[in-house]
């Protein structure tokens, strides 16, 4: 019997019996289709890897589940792919765990699974194992997805400490993902054209292989935004960063909504951006190379590395003043007036 996608997830599906088996077989196995998943074991037996292993996990609890530019499914794949790629690894395999709330529409689950399959194909990774659990109504928020990923570091690239005068590159505009989500949050629903930048960055990062020895560190600035990454680096590597506000790219709609809500785009999440600290002498070449990639066309140098004795992260403002760029304090909450 075929699954009726007009229905909803119920506890029968969650009981681990025939209904669950049918859902996994008809939906997950069919969409994620690959030789490792087809083994249908409680584990995926994978071939030996040619290099050091990179292993990462992340849980996705985004609301709303569907947003302009993506959904929780594509986010769950791209997020883990990017976490691996930013460590210099080639992402290979992904494990996906679903926690679904009773009553969740099956049609939406199908849409999410299809989106994950498409994202995995684009990123050239395989979803090789997984798990599905159903929780009672009221004990979840529709659907949560956890993805864990394995990648391989083939060329011994390791992060190294930034040096004074190094430069920081980012592959485009900041804040698109966070604002795409915020604009569709319950109670706001701004009529905006902001689209999430949700994308897998592994092929962009792979294209930089010729310059690897000049790249000190990489990171994708997700929650906490650009400011969180720079503050983390500054603390860990004991250096300081100075952003040039004039060089930062913030799309018009993101700027407008940030103004209304009192948010700083430097604190807003991205899902398709990578930041690199690179040796000064190679920064322009690396930036040019990134511009050749579809996800790097708006790449730019946005900051420089200063000696450790200075304020950890600062920004030269458009007016020529200098101000601190701090961590985000707590959650960003819209201001009253």
């Amino acid at each position: 019997m075929k699954i009726n996608y007009k229905g909803n997830i119920d506890l029968t599906i969650g009981a681990g019996g025939r209904a669950m088996n049918q859902l996994i077989h008809d939906l997950m196995l069919a969409e994620f289709d690959n030789e490792f998943l087809a083994q249908q074991g409680d584990q995926a037996i994978l071939p030996p890897a040619n290099g050091k292993l990179a292993f990462s996990t992340d849980s996705y609890v985004v609301s709303p589940l569907f947003f302009n530019g993506g959904d929780i499914g594509s986010l769950a794949i791209n997020g883990t792919v990017n976490d691996l790629a930013a460590g210099g690894a080639t992402p290979l395999y992904i494990a996906a765990g679903f926690i679904i709330e009773e009553g969740f529409p099956l049609a939406q689950l199908r849409e999410i699974v299809k989106s994950m399959a498409k994202a995995a194909k684009t990123a050239n990774v395989k979803i090789v194992t997984g798990d599905t659990k159903v929780v009672e109504k009221g004990k979840g928020d529709g659907i949560f997805i956890n993805t864990s990923g394995i990648g391989v570091v083939e060329n011994d690239w390791v992060a190294t400490s930034p040096q004074t005068d190094d430069l920081v590159i980012i592959n485009g505009a900041i804040g698109d993902h966070g604002m795409a989500i915020m604009s569709k949050r319950q109670g706001l629903n701004f009529a905006s054209d902001i689209s999430s930048d949700c994308a897998a960055l592994n092929s962009l990062i792979a294209s930089l292989a010729p310059y690897q020895k000049h790249i000190r560190i990489m990171r994708d600035p997700t929650r906490g935004g650009v400011s969180a990454v720079l503050n983390e680096w500054a603390t860990f590597y004991n250096c300081s960063f100075e952003i040039d506000e004039e060089k930062l790219l913030v799309n018009e709609s993101v700027r407008g909504l940030s103004e209304i809500l009192g948010f700083d785009p430097l604190h807003i999440a991205n899902e398709g951006k990578v930041m690199l600290v690179v040796a000064k002498d190679y920064a322009d070449e690396i930036c040019s190379l990134m511009k050749n990639h579809p996800l790097g066309q708006e790449s730019r140098i946005i900051a420089k590395v200063n000696p450790a004795s200075q304020v950890k992260v600062s920004m030269k403002t458009l007016f020529g003043g200098l101000r601190r760029v701090d961590w985000l304090n707590g959650e960003q909450l819209p201001r009253i007036c």
């Binding site: 109670g187 018009e252 700083d264 003043g321 601190r324 304090n329 707590g330 909450l333 819209p334 009253i336």
Partner: protein
């Protein structure tokens, strides 16, 4: 971006700075208070305080509604949120503000109180319409900017016969607070960078008493960085000429008499309290608003016979002096140590637009 980029042009900023440098008298100090937290935020965010001549001192006033709400009122809001079948609706940035013993609405929510973030009082009204089995209490705070919608919502609730909608009213008044600050002999202010959004409602004429009786010029300034710079230039002119006048720099939104319709709605529904306590500043006579007897049915204070709470500001906190411009954030021994945005001890650190929070977040002083 039209209407934003025009007010952030670095070339225009450079020109304005040159004007200010040319106009100032190097022999004297200019103590300018920006009353609004929005201005404080813009000044720090664009580093305006660093590019002004050293003899212009910007004093960050008390104009942040989140900051100035006293601890007992937060305690009362938490008490209301804990009543059976209540949904307390609040603007988001109130949730973090600490009450007694660092409790907050955010913590009350985590303990199970039903607290809903709303972006407008009309959202709260909508919830009341849809959830008739719950009592919806709107936590109304703010200066004149947010007051008219609160008054309007009460009129709407009456029209609709919504018995399950109440308002916990904490609205405060700007011009009264300015005069209260000036009454302090220690205060040394030469002029005000006047509020912008507030002035849309009250009009630029509302500052006549400040300008004429206290001999302090006021320039109503927009929130964009170029607005602030141009307003500083205007203030320097007025101070140099010894003219305690009012200039409206924010002409694109403010007129002399303000929004008469909004004023009429406020006057119909709300009236001045004899006293209202401000966090960091203490009691200020006739500086707060309460719901008129005629609309008492919608007043959460009356309906719940709201208990009084006794809790004071932290003793060693220097907020009262900082809000008056007598001290700066760095002069407070709690600043950046015991008192941080994650764990604010005083009014100025509570909201991102408070003087200490802005200094903590943006300034290059070591901490």
């Amino acid at each position: 971006m039209k209407y934003i980029d025009e007010f952030r042009n670095s070339q225009v900023a450079k020109k304005l700075i040159e004007n200010i440098q040319r106009k100032i008298n190097p022999e004297r100090k200019y103590n300018l208070m920006e009353f609004c937290g929005g201005h404080t935020h813009a000044i720090h965010r664009y580093g305006i305080n660093q590019i002004l001549p050293a003899n212009i001192k910007l004093i960050h006033g008390p104009g942040c509604p989140v900051c100035v709400l006293p601890i007992p009122r937060i305690d009362q809001a938490i008490w209301l949120a804990n009543q059976p079948d209540v949904i307390l609706c609040s603007y988001a940035d109130m949730l973090r503000v600490p009450g007694d013993k660092q409790d907050s609405l955010l913590k009350a929510k985590a303990r199970g109180a039903q607290i809903q973030i709303v972006y407008s009082v009309l959202d709260a009204l909508e919830i009341a319409k849809n959830q008739s089995d719950k009592m919806i209490i709107f936590f109304a705070i703010g200066f004149e900017t947010t007051t008219p919608p609160t008054a309007h919502a009460i009129l709407e609730a009456k029209k609709m016969g919504l018995d399950n909608f109440k308002v916990f009213c904490n609205h405060v008044l700007t011009p009264v607070a300015m005069t209260a600050i000036l009454d302090d002999n220690e205060v040394n202010i030469d002029g005000f960078i006047g509020p912008s959004h507030v002035s849309i409602i009250v009009g630029s004429d509302a500052y006549r008493e400040v300008a004429q009786e206290y001999q302090k010029p006021v320039v109503i300034a927009g929130f964009e960085p170029l607005d602030v710079l141009q307003s500083i230039e205007y203030l320097i002119d007025l101070i140099n000429e010894n003219k305690p006048d009012i200039i409206n720099q924010y002409t694109r939104a403010v007129n002399p008499e303000g929004n008469l319709k909004a004023q009429e709605i406020i006057a119909r529904v709300l009236e001045k309290r004899q006293q209202f306590s401000w966090r960091g500043l203490g009691q200020i006579a006739k500086s707060g608003l309460k719901i008129r007897q005629e609309y008492a049915h919608f007043d959460a204070e009356v309906y719940y016979n709201l208990p009084e709470f006794q809790s004071d500001d932290v003793k060693s906190c220097e907020c009262p002096q900082i809000l008056r411009g007598i001290k700066e954030p760095k002069d407070c021994k709690l600043f950046g140590k015991a008192c941080t945005p994650e764990n604010p001890m005083g009014a100025c650190m509570v909201s991102s637009e408070g003087a200490c929070a802005a200094a903590f977040q943006y300034s290059l002083i070591s901490r």
